[in-house]
């Protein structure tokens, strides 16, 4: 009986969301009176023993280079085998692109009930009940898992990482990996930009920017804040910005610490993708824009005047 936490890595480095699940899994293990163990696939350069800082006791590594790249079938095999070998009863993933590729598959293989998009620690006082976001963040559901093995995938940015002291024991796990059926032809990582789903701060633009040629002021603000950039659906549909920046019910769902919306009206479908942001700032010239109802801070004004001032004031505050 243990809690097994899947730690995602990319190019040898542990992903930010993995520290969140490590913290979450360790808290859950303490709650259940058991140990938190981690599973790492592939070879890594980061020091795995450091996962001890987040409460992990043992890190199991299947150090096979084939696993440096995500392959849903191979990962499912290896993770499900690890769960069986280690006798884990709870398996935790992050609900990221990687988690979405494998967590449900692992659950199906293990005949385990799964809650994806979990937003809090399970209530284990009477059974095993996990809270998750539903209706694209417009509500929560409390879901009971009845199977012996339980799988949870945690919404990124919904649980604070807590780093303390401690070193985890690192142990290697021998599991046959097999050959991938999927061939990866090319990988195109967006270099130098903050990935939208991982960003602490997101600056987003809507039709109020009038055209792609006006994005400079938004990009300047984003650069000053080390923020990722996003946009509303019509902006992506008109090809003013790339599709992967489209946030909302039918685009990417995000939950940054700070979401700054420029010239976005705040349609219900847009809000559904951003309403889990901790702090929302809206700049819109229309005082009746529905976004103000969902905002924490706002300026009713012309974004073409306000945004450059905002960038300047942030520079000033930082003494630049």
């Amino acid at each position: 009986m243990s809690v097994l936490i899947f730690i995602d890595q990319s190019e040898g480095h542990i992903k930010k969301a993995s520290y969140e699940v490590a913290t979450y899994g360790a808290k859950l293990a303490a709650q259940l009176g058991t140990t938190a163990e981690a599973l790492v696939l592939g070879t890594v350069t980061d020091n795995l023993a450091d996962l001890g800082k987040y409460g992990i006791k043992i890190v199991h590594q299947v150090a096979n280079e084939t696993l440096n790249h995500l392959d849903a079938q191979l990962f499912t095999n290896v993770i499900a085998e690890s769960v069986k070998q280690l006798g884990a009863t709870v398996v935790i993933f992050s609900h990221t692109q990687t988690g979405k590729a494998i967590s449900a598959n692992v659950a199906a293989r293990l005949q385990a009930g799964i809650v994806t998009g979990a937003s809090a620690l399970p209530d284990t006082s009477n059974g095993f009940v996990v809270k998750k976001t539903v209706f694209s963040g417009k509500a929560f559901a409390n879901i009971a898992i009845h199977s012996a093995i339980k799988v949870i995938s945690l919404n990124p940015n919904s649980f604070h990482t807590l780093a303390g002291d401690g070193l985890a024991e690192v142990s290697s796990l021998a599991i046959a990996v097999g050959n991938p059926k999927v061939k990866i032809n090319s990988v195109d990582k967006i270099i130098g930009e903050v990935p939208l789903t991982e960003a602490d701060i997101v600056v987003s633009g809507g039709r109020g920017l009038k055209g792609p040629e006006n994005w400079g002021i938004l990009l300047d603000l984003a650069k000053e804040l080390h923020a990722a950039t996003a946009c509303s659906r019509p902006v992506a549909d008109a090809n003013w910005r790339p599709h992967h920046e489209h946030v909302g019910q039918t685009g990417v769902q995000i939950a940054p610490n700070l979401y700054i919306a420029l010239g976005i009206s705040g349609a219900i479908q847009h809000l559904a993708g951003v309403n889990r942001s901790k702090v929302i700032v809206v700049i819109n010239k229309d005082p009746e824009a529905p976004f103000f109802k969902a905002a924490d801070y706002g300026i009713v004004g012309d974004l073409f005047e306000v945004v450059p001032k905002l960038t300047e004031e942030i520079k000033k505050m930082r003494g630049e």
Binding site: K100, T116, K138, N142, V187, L258, Q269
Partner: protein, 247 residues
């Protein structure tokens, strides 16, 4: 080529979200039902495009649900697709639904199974991966592009911090999102044709759900917006720094 498109019935994107029976049931009062947008705009339309290129392609639609799903599945048939299968059972949980779909898929032997990247009601993102696993088929999640050359699929997909292009021999299970295709509006001919397309109702296989919903909650209301004058942008920066501690 034989394609299965998984269809889920969801509340319209503007539906009021409320609950009844002591917060244990979704309040369906006044709710308009639609085809889950990811299933409609991306999976179904991409399947239709593939059939337009290769008319020998057969498209099946599948949904797990009661007779209340029929209008939505007919609407999907009006967009395209040759026949629909409805597994006549409530969608108890993702495992239950996926296992029912896998049951049919094992009999019908599809070359491609398309699902949406998630349903906009329960946001599970689980059916595709489960169906892939239960039918022992490769799974490509979050696909933004899908091309076929003979029996090989070239698929672009979102990964963390970017995109990759994969090559896989069929069969394959693919979860679809923006980029795959453009939204289409059903035309009169499609709507008429859909009336006579077969909608097969089959009884569910004996499968146990592994989870159950106990209750729902609405998020706490926002405290209300603090408005700052456009002539005092410095004040917004101060608030974000000192009060919200967000910058």
């Amino acid at each position: 080529m034989k394609i299965l498109v998984c269809i889920s019935k969801t509340p319209d994107t503007t539906a009021r979200i409320a609950f009844t029976d002591n917060n244990t049931q979704f309040d369906e009062n006044g709710v308009q039902w639609i085809i889950n947008p990811y299933d409609e705009w991306y999976s179904l339309v991409r399947a239709i495009e593939l059939k337009e290129k290769d008319p020998a392609t057969v498209i099946h639609l599948i949904t797990v649900g009661g007779p209340d799903c029929d209008p939505v599945i007919r609407k999907a048939l009006a967009l395209g697709g040759d026949e629909a299968i409805r597994v006549n059972a409530p969608a108890k949980d993702s495992y239950y639904v996926a296992a029912q779909i896998a049951e049919i898929a094992r009999q019908e032997k599809y070359d491609i199974i398309f699902t949406g990247k998630e349903a906009i009601d329960f946001n599970g993102s689980a059916i595709g991966g489960m169906v892939a696993e239960l039918t022992d088929t490769p799974y490509i999640s979050l696909a933004t592009k899908f091309e076929l050359t003979g029996n090989t699929a070239l698929i672009s997909r979102e990964i963390e911090g970017g995109e990759e292009t994969d090559e896989v021999a069929l069969p394959v299970v693919v979860s679809c999102q923006k980029g795959m295709a453009e939204q289409r509006i059903p035309n009169m001919r499609g709507i008429m044709a859909a009336r006579t397309k077969p909608l097969k109702v089959v009884e569910p296989a004996a499968i146990d759900a592994l989870t159950s919903i106990l209750s729902f909650e609405l998020p706490p209301a926002k405290a209300g917006v603090k408005l700052v004058s456009p002539d005092n942008v410095a004040e917004l920066v101060r608030l974000l720094h000192e009060e919200a501690k967000a910058i």
